[in-house]
Symmetry: C2
Subunit: 264 residues, 2 copies
């Protein structure tokens, strides 16, 4: 067994232990603190955005679990915590933290494993129900819907901004259904399982790597595609200032049609 | 005890029995049938819209439970089933049936009780988790957020259409957050509990009575307001062709500001 093979074998256990820690910390947080406290800004994260108190609580638990298990961790608030491991977890401790802090039960722990520079497996866990979705690059129990055309697609989107108003509207008016769940990793899971046909940031460059890293594994292993609206590779990068406009789609054809609709 | 008092006492038990029947039928349906079958059009409902197979399965179970318990029922597919009772249930068997049929776990059973022409109590039940929210006109354990201003409000919306594009955009750009969960009764529950500040149909006249009937009780008893964008009363009416553009808000002030934003 090479070092890389050994790392891959260890990673699934580390993912599970980290998800367990995230769920326990999240549930303790919503039981213990008020909504005002949970959504208060606790710090400015390593990614340059405000970090809510609920994020800090869950992330601290995750970092403890991951590093104890021997993995490096790249996370939005603390940045890159390097313990010299062959395994790195790219983590969103609470994706949908605005939902979580308000009491909308749509928030997930999500992590992708990086070995030797490549995403190898990923897990997203719905914190409210503890339902979990896992896949590796080569094995998924899910299949996307197979939808190839935007005019037959149900599409999840990030909310519109003034800067991408026209692109947003082009996608929204072409699709058969639109949803905005404000939880990128859960919306990506629904593409992997075939419940939804696509999830897009329609060119607003809001996505950080941890918003779409798990989708690269979960959706692509299930028959779909993950690309960027502006053709940047969606790959491991420790620079947390980078942004993407992720397109997560049930097929490569639908991903390309969405890219064209965003470009206008 | 008058007949009306007796009817009010009986209604809570009928609501619970009907919710139990809905949950059991929904879970049996998603276990038994494919997504294609669940979302296939089974009939044209009494409300004039296509009815999915999943709706028919759950509605049949609900009608059985409600009429066995001695209540009339007004429901989207079968219309008004009158057994001569003093109690009428206005029911949405599966609100968010497109979600349910696709595998997006955001769908609810929702019912409002009508006695002597007035809504007296209501229950919404999240079919995926069986979490239930109940209130009467005079008693609620929930409180809305108390938000009074659109520029500080997190707003759930129906998806935009060409016919209400400008009104939709006015609301979406003024609010701090936008969500589209495609499940009106759950989005209304979140206003009652203070998780969200408002839920609106921005003037597209898509809402049927059963989409917002439970909100009239749950949200108003929790401190909020339910109005129509075009000033039509939101009240019991057995005519299922009627439509509203419901505004469900944490306060009367916020409801009025949303109405003004939709009017433009």
């Amino acid at each position: 067994m090479t070092i890389i093979e050994a790392a891959r074998t260890a990673a699934t256990g580390i993912l599970t232990a980290t998800a367990d820690a995230a769920t326990a910390a999240y549930r303790d947080a919503v039981r213990t603190y008020s909504r005002e406290k949970l959504r208060s800004v606790a710090m400015v994260g390593a990614d340059g955005t405000d970090t809510m108190f609920v994020d800090v609580l869950v992330e601290d638990a995750i970092i403890g679990a991951a590093t104890a298990a021997g993995a490096n961790i790249l996370s939005e608030e603390r940045g890159f915590v390097d313990v010299g491991s062959a395994i790195t977890l790219v983590v969103d401790p609470v994706d949908g933290s605005a939902n979580a802090a308000a009491g909308i039960p749509l928030a997930c722990f999500s992590a992708a494993v990086v070995v030797d520079g490549e995403f190898t497996e990923a897990m997203t866990s719905w914190l409210h129900t503890d339902e979990r979705w896992w896949a590796s690059r080569t094995a998924s129990e899910y299949r996307t819907s197979g939808c190839t055309s935007l005019d037959r697609a149900a599409v999840s989107m990030l909310r519109p901004h003034e800067r991408n108003r026209d692109a947003w509207w082009r996608v929204a008016s072409a699709a058969t259904r639109i949803r905005i769940l404000s939880c990128s990793t859960l919306e990506s899971v629904f593409v992997a399982t075939g419940a939804s046909d696509a999830f897009v940031d329609a060119g607003s460059d809001t996505h950080r790597l941890m918003d779409i890293a798990a989708a690269v594994v979960l959706v692509e292993a299930s028959g779909g595609a993950v690309i960027d609206a502006y053709d940047r590779p969606v790959e491991f990068d420790a620079d947390l200032t980078k942004r993407w406009s992720g397109i997560v789609a049930s097929t490569p054809d639908l991903a390309e049609e969405l890219r064209a609709a965003i470009a206008g």
